[in-house]
Amino acid sequence: MKIRAIGIKHASIVLFIGLFFQGCVTKQENFYWGEYEELVHGTFKPEDGSDPQAQVQKLREVIETAEQSGKKVAPGIHVHLGFMQHLTGDDIAAVRSLEKEKQLYPSSTKFVNRLIASLKGK
């Protein structure tokens, strides 16, 4: 009787602690990020991976991976890609990327339209 009581008490404490840490560690994210954060950091470091062509390549991979796994790509990624495409001289692809951001995130509409206008105005 005594041994059984201790067993249940221990088990429930372990379960409680397990659930507590479970909440911290295995949270499902809303969006797919890939290596976008590193690319953002790289943008500011000329000597270290801010090369637009390399960024376009990597961002395309991030987007493809997200699409293949049925996840929504994180806010801003298509805009960042468009920005990099513009820097490589491919304004047509840039506008396409910007339009995609508007589709995914209507909140971006005003700012994205401003960026599209500045591309077309050149």
Partner: protein
């Protein structure tokens, strides 16, 4: 076993004992989109600004908000003649609303950043303060302060190692990485803390007000008039 229980209870109590933050204005205005401005920097490390910008978007977006792409926004400000965070922080809210149509603007400040070295020990401290303003009314939706500290008394090579040039550049690199990691942890804590952080936003899948499509609050507020 007893120690583990006490530790867990202490963590839970810690969350209960701090003064709960008044987030009624946040709830009332509930932004959908947030413009994160480059942080003001009170530390001697000029690279802190860019490092911070690269870690703040994810915890904030994951809390359920549209976050404008920080590198593109930074570039946009520079192209329009605003190069310092001080200048950017001084732009009137109406102007920011006109350009970005953001529901809220996040103003971060780096209070402390980087590592200090004493003999064979090093301490890295990152402290960030920030406020969130509603663009339509200018009201304060949220403000906060977060510090993360890491002490390391096990530096490689000990005293002898620290006197060698190669080791010093390793230390500098480690300092940057340490600060970045602390900034990342601090950002998650600041934004996602259940009582002190942001409320869950409309883009969070699990939130009550979560919807598949993302419609800006500003637009729906305009339509309601």
């Amino acid at each position: 076993m007893r120690y583990l229980i006490i530790l867990t209870l202490a963590q839970l109590l810690n969350a209960c004992v701090t003064t709960p933050k008044d987030r009624s204005k946040f709830k009332e205005m509930m932004p959908t989109s947030i413009l994160v401005l480059p942080p003001a920097n009170h530390s001697p490390d000029v690279s802190a600004t860019q490092t911070y910008l690269s870690v703040i978007s994810r915890p904030m977006a994951e809390q359920g908000f549209y976050i404008f792409p920080v590198a593109v926004v930074d570039s946009y400000f520079k192209e329009n003649g605003l190069s310092t965070p001080a200048e950017i922080h001084n732009v009137p809210l109406e102007k920011l609303r006109e350009v970005f149509n953001a529901d809220a603007v996040f103003y971060p400040t780096i209070e402390e950043w980087g590592s200090s070295y004493e003999l064979v020990a090093s301490t890295t401290r990152v402290r960030i303060s920030a406020k969130l303003l509603d663009t339509r009314t200018g009201s304060l939706l949220w403000s906060g302060d977060q510090v993360r500290v890491k002490s390391d008394s096990s530096s490689e090579g000990g005293l002898a190692g620290m006197l060698i040039g190669a080791a010093i550049s390793q230390i500098i690199n480690d300092s940057t990485d340490q600060s970045k990691e602390l900034a990342r942890q601090g950002s998650y804590l600041m934004i996602q803390h259940s009582e002190q952080g942001f409320l869950k936003g409309p883009l969070d899948k699990k939130s009550m007000s979560g919807q598949k499509s993302d419609v800006s609050n500003t637009e729906s507020r305009k339509a309601a008039k």
